[in-house]
Amino acid sequence: MAILLLAEHDNRTLSDQTARALTAAREIGSEIHVLVAGKDANAAAGEAAKLAGVSKVLLADSDALANNLAEPLAALIVSIAGGYDTIIAAATASAKNVMPRVAALLDVAQVSEIIAVVSPDTFKRPIYAGNAIQTVQTTDAKKVITVRAAAFQPSDAGGSVAIEAVQAAADPGLSSFVKDAISSSDRPELTSAKIVISGGRALGSSEKFKEVILPVAEKLGAAVGASRAAVDAGYAPNDWQVGQTGKVVAPQLYIACGISGAIQHLAGMKDSKFIVAINKDADAPIFQVADYGLVADLFDVLPEFEKAL
């Protein structure tokens, strides 16, 4: 039977994370329908229709779907779930919100954040902040799965399939959207950037964070991340948090500045291809995972690094 892939998008563009989840879906089966649920999301649906390996795009358009509210989105997915034996999505904030609701409504388990497909019903997933990897087999008739996007390459564009309209389900009317405070920047997305530079508690203030980290990010075309400590202290916004309970990234290059390397932070970046650590404590655990470590005061070396690039 077919696979339903829930798209992550902002109505205009499709997230790279969906192209990565598609790669996981293609290892599970071959008939893949991408569901684009939103408001005026034709452009995002158009992008989904071009991805290699997609059989069909379903576009659901309604005001209730404009802001990813869990209840109407789950109702929509459940209304079409009969035609699918696998429902899958990249583990983004909105999929983490809605997919377990779908699973419970279907009375099936969810397999969270898979990092490998062993066979169509068997998957690997990290537990304990990535300190153990479980191989689990589902026994349910339907599988609900979220995918750790950083563990899969994005599928390329290549196809061109039809976009079919589907009816939004009745909105249960339990919640309503009030407002968004979405940060906008010209920098690449944290989860798809080739280079990520992150700052920790050592930065000391949001001013210093901006002054020292951002110019380097600018020069490198890098996305900016942060440790939990830096976010908690207000030096960086919440959507920059990398780690077990934040975003998981696996760029070509990850530069950790003034970050000690707690297991919760490592959980979000230790699959990066190359890791650079800049820390003034030679014994900081971050050096145990770094390819290149520089024991130094970041306030001295980052401006120098920026100039030398």
Binding site: K96, D107, I133, I263
Partner: protein, 249 residues
Amino acid sequence: MKVLVPVKRVVDFNVKIRVKPDNSGVDLANVKMAINPFDEISVEAAVRLKEAGQATEVVAVSIGPAKAEETLRSALAMGADRAILIETDDTVEPLAVAKILKCVADTEKPGLIIVGKQAIDDDSNQTGQMLAALLGWAQATFASKIELGDQKAAVTREVDGGLQTIEVKLPAVVTTDLRLNEPRYASLPNIMKAKKKPIEKRIAADLGVATAPRLKVLKTEEPATRKAGIKVTSVGELIEKLRSEAGVL
């Protein structure tokens, strides 16, 4: 309004766990256990609502082994009024936990259930959403701010692009994120007082809920390890290595 707060006994966040050599699971013998940090945030949120006069009673509930009583005592020491322990030594997956919690909610009739967004052992991030689904209630996940109104709550949520504020009808399920609050330390007198607070105990199997696991764990392995690289002594050397050795600049 009554607030229900589920709490889970997990391995302390400071412990680096070990996988058993035969790949049959994680070695939990003699490992320090604690209340799941997100559940601590939930308890704090509930107790603050009570202190602000917006909640009348805070009930903590845990599903797990007899020792989960310690976890409930921590919640009571933080200010929960009473607790419920649903005992089981089996693995209970998030769906089963949600079903048991639904049973508890059906009798307790809370106006709000505050659930941690994720347990730091299985990292599933499912229970609150599943519970909301089973109850047919609204859900507001990953909360960094909760403002109660008349029969409704405005909740600010941590999402991938920043923050989103939604309004949910009550009763609802809210799941907590790190920035919601900083949990208090229980004072010694409150720890003593907590020892006298009531804990109702029930056996999970008596609830009539199907809790058999839906996932078969075939094996549990160590992750691939990274080996430490080298220390460079200057910015110049770092850039040179990144260019010529790593080829990433």
